[in-house]
Each structure stands twice: as C-alpha cells, then as structure tokens.
Amino acid sequence: MSTTTTAASSIANEIQQEVMERKPFSIVAFLKNRWFLYAISLTAFFALWKYVDYTRVLGNGIAAPEKVVVAIYRLMIDTVAGKSLWGHTWASLNRILIGFAIASSIAVPLGILMALNRYVNAVVKPVFDLIKPMPPFAWISCAILWFGIDEPSKIFIIVVGTFVPCLLNSYMGIRLIEPQLYDVVRMLGGSRRDEILQVGFPAAFPAIFAGLQISLSIAWTCVLSAELVSARSGLGFIIIQGMQLARPDFVLAGMVVLAFWAWATTLIVTYLEKFLCPWKRETSLA
C-alpha cells in the first residue's frame, strides 16, 4: 500500500502557492506603482476641492477640507440638539440595526421557505412582486401617517428597503443550487431534511450573505432619507441642521462621517463572510 501512496501523492501535488513577482526598481515602475497613483488621485481631488473653496465659485456653499476636519472635531465635543456626534451616529446606527435585524430575520427565512416550498411561493410571490419595484422612499409619507414622526416610521422605511434584497437573494441562493448536489445526498440514502440542512443551507450561504451586504448599504440610504425628512437626531439631522444654519462645514462633516460608517459596517459584514465561508475564493470587491 505504501508504494501506491507515494505515487499517488506525487500526482496529487496540488498545494497552492502564492507567487510574488519582484521587479527591479526603475522610474517607470515607480510611476506605474499603484500606491503612487492612489496618492496622485487623492492629492488632485483635495487640491480641486481646496481650489473650488478658494475661488468661491460655489459662494458660501462649500467649506475647505481642513474646515470640515475642524467641524468634525467640534461636533464630537459640542452638542447639537443635546447630542454629540457620537450620540447622533449611534442614533442612526441604532435605527439601522433594529430595522436590519427585523427585515433580515423575516425576509431570509421567508425567501428560503419560498424556494423550498412551492405553495408558500405561490402565496407570497404575487404580493411580493407587486411591492418589489416600489422605491423604499416612496413609503415615507405612509410611514409618517401610520407611525408618526418618531422612531417607528424610520425603522419601517429601513425594514421595507432592506426586505427585498434579503428575500430575493435567499430565494435565488436556494434556487440556483446544482440539483446534482441534492442527488449526492439522495443516492447515499439521506432524507429531505439532510438535503436542506447539509446542502441547501451551506450552498445558499454566500448568496444570503450577499443579500445582507446589499441590504446594509440600502439601510444607510434609507436611514438618511428618513432623517432628512424629519428627525431630532441622527447623521441626517446634522446635515439638515448644517443646511438650515448655512454651515457647509457641518453638512460636509455629516456626509463624511456617514460615508465612513456605511463603509465600516459593510467591511464588518465582508470580514464576517470571509470568516464564515472560508471556502469561497478570494474575489476582489472594489
């Protein structure tokens, strides 16, 4: 048996290795260097921003980059409507977490159930298709009429907005599984339960996660929209306050902080997925 083993492992020589190509240093290589180009791109962007502020082509509608940094710092120490920047960030984040949790905990199981059972699908799908094309923001007036201007209406908008991608991705995730993978379970004598638990869920997992990721970025759009319409807290509220006080540095500060948190929360989900689905090949998502 040992002879087979050695022969076999020489054929089974499949360990993957990362190849690092080292090129000699040269001016051209330096100019083509990715990081160098990144630096150029960013420098040009900030220079243009500074220039637009300096020439006053937008009047008082814009603040210089360093003013925005100062504004962020000020907002962190001072309070607007009784809350510092941290408080407002938490207000927005809190709405997102609640809305996102409600939507995903209903939409993901429902999507899976629709994909697994055609009766559930036949009952839910027509209504879902009717609601699906509606932009979430279209609900805002209804939300205020039904839930008032407090937290529930904002959370409602987030739930409506994130529900659709959560459900669609879980549904497609189960539907697009190779039927042959189910055959593997069946030919080995596995039950329908084995098919769902051992093939259905793990195979659909990446798609479900993609849905969660899309939902999360939609949630940020939704919370902002809701806060711009009516709120006493949140990053959208800071932006609106800046506008009403004619303080472009506050507006931009709100935007920058919002972008940062939207990026950070998406990053968390990306890493969570990498941790939970280590079998997925690295795909670059710019």
Partner: protein, 255 residues
C-alpha cells in the same frame, strides 16, 4: 486464469435487475433490461452517447422512478435508505464548503458510521487514493480531476453494496486516466466492492472490467455480453486484450 478473484459465475448473485423499463413521455429509453451482477464483480457497461446510460444508473440508484421493472439487492427491493448504494456522477459533485477530508467523510456521516470507525476508515481511504496531503484544502483549491477522485473516494468510503460510476474519467487526459483506472482497480480489489462502471471508452472498459455489457441504441437493450478473462495488471498491447477490444468495437459498430 485470474488468480486473485474467483470466477464470477461461482460467486453469489448480489444484484438482480428485472425487466427494467424507463420512458420519458413517449420516448422509450430503456426497454425491458434484465441482468445479474455477482458479489464483488466489476461490471462495465458500454453504449453509444445518448442511449440512456445515465438514465439507467439513475434508475438503479432510485434517483428517478422506473416505468416498469425493479432492482433487487440480496433479494430485496433496492432502497437507498436501507442498502448501501454509492454513485459517482458524470460531473464532479464535491461540496464546495467542505474540505477534501470532510467531502470524503460525507457519505459515512450520512450512513451513520460511528466516530471511531469513520476516522479510521477516512485515514485509510485518504491514504489509499493519495489525498492525505491535500486533505485540508477546499475543492476549489484543487484541479477538477482531483475533484473526481474525491467523489470516487467518497463513494468507496461507505463500503457500498453497489458502486455505480458514470463515466467518471470522461474529461481527463490519457495519462491521468490510466493512472486513475489503475487506482480504481486496486481500490476495488482492496475493498471488494461490487462495481457497475459506465463508459463509452471501449479500451477503458476492457482494461478495468471482468465483464462488459454492450448496450444498443434507443430503445436500449443489452445487445451482448463479453467476458474479460485477463490477468491483472492488464497490458493494452497484449494480443488477447486487443482481440477483446476489437470484439467489443465490432459489436458497437454493428448498427
């Protein structure tokens, strides 16, 4: 002639296929097929493309219902929940979320092997097919020929009463195919499984099998049965080997 394996006629009948008929709507694919397979026999089935080889194996493994007829294992109607049937599909079917090791172990998990027995057998099988060094990789980190070997290892690992293989090496290059055919034969000898091996490569069939069933075009019947009574390891240029290969080729060229 074959020293290690007793002649098939003298062995106990393991699998009985009786009047197996399958049609899809009006299309009659399998027409009243009957045959037996002996305990521990290596049976090869050759037939033209589209004649219903995959359909035939799907019916044997109960993945699809038959129109008429049945298959008996040890005299009992075949049932994947009760009998130990294993199937290597035409396309690789590894589970991407399981490592090579866990893929090979999957069948044993479904069959409810005890932990100790599973571990022991897993080590033995991984070693036998040379997957020990790659055991912790995921299927997308190995080439697709390796994936097919994983599927073969998974199928053998459950110690099946009946092992069905559907052109598992159809897509591989010749060198690797020869290698894997040898590996398959040694697995079969070591584990004493009953194997039905479907292919449309005649040379492959003659190389691995003890007996070959030649299928006709649709509606498919068994056209001929050829015994391959050659010692192993077989040589592709042995005059007797060439003679049998020609005989099977003639049978297929007939129509």
């Amino acid at each position: 002639m074959n020293a290690t394996v007793e002649a098939a006629e003298n062995r106990r009948v393991k699998i009985e296929v009786k009047d197996l008929t399958k049609s899809f709507g009006n299309l009659l694919v399998l027409d009243d097929i009957s045959f037996n397979v002996a305990q521990g026999e290596f049976l090869s089935i050759v037939g033209p493309t589209g004649c219903g080889k995959t359909t035939f194996l799907n019916a044997l493994s109960k993945l699809i219902p038959t129109t008429k007829g049945n298959i008996f294992i040890d005299g009992e109607e075949a049932n994947p929940k009760k009998h130990n049937i294993s199937f290597v599909f035409q396309e690789p079917t590894c589970m991407p979320w399981r490592t090579v090791r866990d893929n090979v172990a999957y069948g044993m998990e479904v069959k409810g092997f005890s932990k100790a027995r599973l571990e022991e057998r897993l080590r033995y099988i991984l070693d036998l097919v040379g997957l020990t060094t790659t055991a912790d990789l995921y299927p997308n980190q190995v080439s697709s020929s390796m994936e097919q070997r994983i599927a073969v290892a998974r199928a053998f690992a459950v110690d099946p009463d009946l092992l069905l293989m559907d052109e598992p090496y159809g897509q591989l290059d010749v060198k690797l195919r020869y290698y894997l055919e040898d590996e398959l034969v040694s697995l079969w000898k070591a584990l004493k499984s009953t194997v039905i091996f479907v292919t449309h490569n005649i040379e492959e069939a003659v190389y691995v099998a003890e007996r070959i069933l030649v299928l006709s075009n649709k509606p498919t019947k068994i056209k001929a049965e050829v015994k391959v009574d050659l010692p192993r390891p077989r040589s592709l240029i042995d005059p007797k080997f060439v003679e049998i290969r020609k005989q099977v080729t003639e049978l297929i060229r007939w129509w």
